[in-house]
């Protein structure tokens, strides 16, 4: 029998998948949107024995819905559920089963005719999920922002407060000292009271000084973890860390390793972070370029390491042949949270964190070139001698013990420098490290030191020649050789000639070092 479906044609105008079924689940009519929704062709729908051939829901569920609707003669609504849209493998439909998130609505027309609508929630659900993810991301980024901002502000604040306090503190401590001296030789009635008062004042001032020192070291909290490291090995490690993404993107990463070591006083982890940040930025820039530029440019990132004689510093250059940085944003790239990347790809903290780290090393991070042929970022770090001198003067300043000495150690092995610096610091001295005898000689002219310890066997200039040059500059500064027993004869030869005060034999213990140094200082005092 041919049923009149004329009245149902109205349903075609609706943008909702709607199907009319009878109580045996046979399809009587369906609207356009239903076939779009099910992706089933009209032929398949027409040939389907029941609706379950098209839509894969449990028969029981639909049965209950129809029963409820007809019993109350009103609309029945299902819960939200996952509905499989059956794909009939025997037909041309080769697509895998699709699944949608939807609820069903049944409107009874008669005891044998029902309207079945689908309220598809997949899109909403997808949007909602995406929204929640983005929200989480935003929350995380916001947390980072606050944290980074707090730290930065606190660091800057404490550095400037420390500076402001140091002047009045110097006045108070200095004048306190003057008072003490004057009163020392006076006959005062309330001697005990005055002495006690002075003691309390100077202790309090000393406490303030300690607090300020701690504040400063908070601002540069990397200070404590600085050690002597070869920049070459730091660069190698950083390159290893980004090796996989560079390979995946087909971008070359080059580093022409210098012959000489580049030992400096740095916090290794932090320096690696700086280099990785710069490499990642270059990678991002080159990746982006490859997606937009028509002329295919093969991406190359190069690291160069060199000594800048003129500025008396070491330089790490990260060079890329990317698109460069537009002039109008060049001033902003170092600000926290400035990014041109998608929210999931960049937080905009890379460069600001990196430049903070480099500043903590008394250096500078700059964009030194940027054109449409690429960018160069340059990290400048002070020479080992300068950074260790600054660390040493700051350490000496922190204590009032005037017997602490500044000791220049010349050795081209970072391990020896690290061990000696630990030993010397433990007994209260400070060390200025140098890896290059000629640089050490220049340092003698520039800065004031109390003792020199030199390795004997060094590549450019051996201990003998170094001692000769030291003696040209100063007759009085004590000089100690640091060597293995195979060079013992040199010590014996030079001992008289260059007035070598002592010998530390490798390998050495802390006691060896301190005994020899103490002896030398005692001897020097006598003279």
């Amino acid at each position: 029998m041919q049923e009149d479906t004329q009245p149902f044609q109205l349903l075609d105008a609706l943008f909702e998948p709607i199907v009319i079924i009878d109580d045996k689940f046979k399809i009587i009519y369906y609207n356009h949107f239903f076939s779009t929704f099910t992706k089933a062709s009209p032929r398949i729908i027409r040939n389907a024995q029941t609706i379950f051939k098209i839509i894969n829901v449990e028969e029981k569920i639909l049965q209950t819905l129809l029963a409820t609707a007809s019993a109350n003669n009103q609309v029945a609504l299902s819960q939200e559920m996952e509905i499989k849209l059956a794909s009939d493998a025997s037909e041309e439909n080769l697509a895998p089963d699709r699944q949608v998130h939807a609820s069903m609505k049944v409107i009874p027309l008669s005891t044998t005719r029902y309207i079945l609508c689908f309220n598809v929630l997949s899109v909403e659900k997808g949007l909602h999920r995406k929204y929640r993810e983005k929200l989480e991301e935003l929350k995380r980024a916001h947390g980072q922002i606050i944290q980074a901002d707090k730290l930065a502000t606190l660091g800057e604040l404490s550095a400037s407060i420390a500076h402001e306090i140091n002047n009045p503190l110097a006045i108070a401590m200095g004048h306190g000292e003057i008072l003490e001296r004057v009163l020392e030789n006076e006959t005062i009635q309330e001697r005990e009271l005055v002495d006690n008062a002075y003691k309390n004042i100077s202790e309090a001032l000393q406490r303030i000084k300690t607090i300020v020192m701690n504040m400063k070291s908070f601002a540069h909290k990397s200070e404590e973890k600085k050690q002597y490291h070869d920049l070459i090995s730091i660069i190698d490690k950083s390159m290893m860390l980004v090796d996989t993404p560079f390979r995946a993107a087909g971008i070359d990463l080059k580093f022409e390793r210098p012959v000489d070591k580049f030992i400096t006083l740095v916090n290794r982890i932090e320096m690696e972070q700086v280099i990785v940040n710069l490499l990642k930025n270059a990678l991002d820039a080159l990746r982006e370029q490859s997606t937009i530029s028509a002329a295919h440019i093969h991406g190359i990132v190069e690291i160069k390491l060199k000594k800048n004689k003129q500025d008396e510093c070491l330089e790490i250059l990260v060079i890329d042949n990317g698109p460069g940085i537009p002039e109008k944003i060049q001033g902003e790239i170092f600000s926290p949270f400035f990014t041109t990347k998608e929210i999931s790809e960049g937080t905009g903290l890379g460069l600001s964190v990196s430049s903070k780290i480099v500043e903590g090393h008394h250096g500078k991070l700059q964009l030194t070139k940027s054109s449409n042929e690429g960018s160069i970022f340059t990290v400048q770090l002070p020479l080992i001698e300068v950074s260790s001198y600054v660390a040493s003067v700051n350490a000496l300043n922190a204590s009032n013990d005037a017997s602490r000495k500044k000791i220049l150690v010349v050795d081209d092995e970072e391990k020896i420098l690290n061990i000696l610096s630990t030993f010397l610091e433990e007994v209260g001295h400070t060390m200025i490290g140098s890896t290059d005898p000629s640089e050490a000689l220049e340092m003698m002219d520039k800065l004031e030191m109390d003792l020199i310890i030199t390795d004997y066997n060094m590549p450019r200039m051996n201990g003998h020649d170094f001692a000769k040059n030291v003696r040209k500059k100063s007759n009085s500064i004590p000089l100690i050789y640091l060597t293995s027993s195979q060079f013992l004869n040199h010590f014996q030869e030079d001992r008289q000639k260059y007035n070598i005060a002592g010998l530390i034999l490798k390998p050495f213990s802390k006691e060896d070092v301190t005994t020899i140094i103490d002896g030398v200082f005692k001897e020097a005092k006598k003279k």
Binding site: N167, E177, I178, H362, E448
Partner: protein
């Protein structure tokens, strides 16, 4: 030579924008018994005036001076003493904070001695003696 100098005693110029720091350094120096004529100045202009009036054995300069930095003054002094054919002026830099760039620029100007505030009398005198090439007086004679 050394004794002769000690009888005449050394002269010094102290430049700091805080008068109380100047006073303090002045007292430290005179207490040591090594210095007699200690002049103070609060800015670069006054310092230059004082420099044109007399010659100093030692100049102590604050790293941060108003308007122009302390190192500007150091540069001026170096040129001045070179032109006037004086011996190289001996300078101690005093500073509220110590940064690598300060050390680098200070060493460029030939300054070996940098004291970070707050410093003690003992440290100042030790630096002064080192720069003047005399041995540190023992504590008793400092008063």
């Amino acid at each position: 030579m050394k004794f002769l100098r000690l009888e005449n005693k050394f002269s010094a110029l102290v430049v700091d924008d805080e008068q109380q720091i100047c006073d303090m350094v002045k007292i430290f120096l005179t207490f040591s018994g090594l210095f007699e004529n200690v002049v103070t100045a609060n800015d670069v202009i006054v310092a230059k005036q004082k420099l044109s009036n007399q010659k100093f054995d030692l100049i102590i300069i604050d790293n941060i001076l108003p308007k122009r930095g302390g190192l500007d003054l150091v540069d001026y002094i170096n040129n001045y003493s070179r032109n006037a054919n004086y011996q190289k002026t001996r300078i101690i830099l005093i500073s509220g904070v110590l940064k690598a760039e300060d050390v680098i620029s200070a060493t460029r100007y030939g300054i070996k001695h940098i004291l970070v505030k707050p410093f003690t009398n003992q440290k100042l005198i030790a630096a002064a003696c080192d720069i003047l090439g005399i041995s540190t007086p023992n504590k008793d004679s400092e008063l």
